[in-house]
């Protein structure tokens, strides 16, 4: 990959022994910049989604950064392990790679959840008017995060394999390439996840009613009443149902708004 990029002789003399680092980094940064601009074009084209779902934009930079944080550190640890000679290309739990894969999966789920909560707290704290409910933010953050992370993890593993086989220095290529993939994949992943908004079974509204009332309503829509709820509560809500979703996919912001679940179930 790096061998094809030739720097001018003057630059080779200027960088001296670091010319390999510059060459590898420029390739990775070039990819990073060009794909980030594609992500930017995508961001510009879905600006109406952010107008339709206020508060979602708060989540975006952090969600993009999260992929870079988790898999940048992941790649860094693998890189040091390769430099130190302790690396094996195996995902068994007792190997450096296996432990890092498990850690990255747990971090993706946990941090996506925390990110949504933090975004909601910040949006409310800074008086961003009409921000979308916490359940919606959690759904978008977690589903979008998992979708993006699966691909980024696969790519990071591919890079580790390439580093071992072709002698690349992961220090020079991991951060730019992982953050590139984080940028390019996170926005579409979050956008895809916004398509799940409006399915009441995925984001039930708690509102101000007691939690057992809400849970029994939700539960009774598809089966038996929630067992831990009081009998009167369950019987009152056994006939409740969430309105059925008419369209499988929101084609436009206005259509999404019209198919979003109401604040309360029909009882």
């Amino acid at each position: 990959m790096a061998r094809r990029v030739r720097l001018p002789k003057g630059l080779v003399a200027l960088f001296g022994a670091d010319v390999v680092m510059v060459r590898q980094s420029l390739v990775a940064l070039g990819l990073n910049t060009s794909t980030s601009l594609v992500a930017g074009a995508f961001l510009g084209s879905i600006a109406s989604t952010f107008e339709d779902l206020p508060g979602l934009l708060v989540l975006v930079p952090a969600a993009i950064g999260l992929r870079g944080n988790i898999f940048g550190a992941f790649g860094n640890r693998i890189s040091t392990s390769i430099h130190a000679g302790g690396f094996r290309l195996s995902v068994r739990r007792d190997t450096v790679l296996g432990q890092n894969v498990l850690g990255a999966a747990i971090l993706t789920l946990g941090m996506s959840l925390l990110l949504a909560v933090a975004a909601k707290v910040i949006a409310v704290g800074l008086s961003l008017e009409g921000s979308i409910p916490l359940a919606d933010l959690v759904l978008v953050s977690v589903v979008g995060g998992v979708l993006g992370s699966i691909v980024v993890m696969a790519a990071t593993l591919g890079l580790a394999g390439g580093a071992v086989r072709y002698g690349w220095d992961l220090d020079n290529v991991t951060a730019p390439l992982v953050s590139t993939l984080g940028d390019v994949l996170t926005l579409p992943a979050l956008f895809i996840a916004t398509g799940l908004l409006g399915y009441a079974v995925l984001t039930p509204r708690w509102g101000s009613s007691p939690w057992c009332w809400r849970w029994s309503c939700w539960w009774s829509a598809g089966g038996p009443s929630w067992p831990t709820c009081a009998a009167s509560c369950a019987s009152r809500c056994r006939s409740c149902s969430w309105p059925a979703r008419s369209a499988p996919w929101p084609a436009s912001p206005s259509r999404r708004a019209s198919t979003r679940s109401p604040a309360t179930p029909r009882c």
Partner: protein, 162 residues
């Protein structure tokens, strides 16, 4: 916090959507350059090539200089690319000169902080017995997300674009 900075300035970005195209590139460039610096410093710290001193050693200064040199073409390309894509998509832009000025000004401010954060995060991690590989890039990229967005918003305001 980066998101809040963007959300609060959303009207300005809506006026010139080409600026919005530049946002992910500006954020990820700062994160990528900080990641390169952090990755190199943490590997060299762990291998004993760089000492965790308050004033960067010669080897650390060399890495810092290289990353700063790399940042120039990166931010220039960010502005050119955003202008080009904005034109292709028929989106309003404040003009190539302003795009380049905003990108370089925001990039310079972001890189100054990136270098400080990357170096001292790695040093503090080593001195407190933590693994700089684990703490370096996350600290840099999460801080840089906010710093990068804020630097770009401030640069845009300082240039009177929006």
């Amino acid at each position: 916090m980066a998101g809040v900075a963007l959300e609060k300035s959303f009207d300005s970005f809506a006026r010139y959507p080409a600026l919005l195209i530049m946002v992910p590139a500006a954020l990820s460039s700062a994160g990528a350059l900080g990641g390169i610096l952090s990755g190199r410093l943490s590997s060299k710290l762990l291998l004993g090539v760089v000492e965790p001193t308050p004033v960067p050693s010669r080897e650390a200064r060399r890495d810092i200089s290289l990353v700063l040199l790399l940042s120039l073409p990166v931010y220039l390309v960010n502005a050119l690319g955003a202008e080009l894509i904005g034109d292709l998509l028929g989106q309003a832009t404040p003009g190539l000169g302003m795009m380049i000025s905003a990108s370089l000004l925001g990039g310079a401010a972001a890189m100054a902080l990136v270098v400080l954060i990357a170096y001292y995060a790695a040093i503090v991690a080593v001195r407190t017995g933590l693994d700089p590989d684990t703490y370096g890039i996350p600290v840099v990229s999460s801080t840089v997300d906010f710093v990068g967005a804020l630097a770009l918003v401030l640069a845009i305001s300082a240039l009177g674009i929006a």
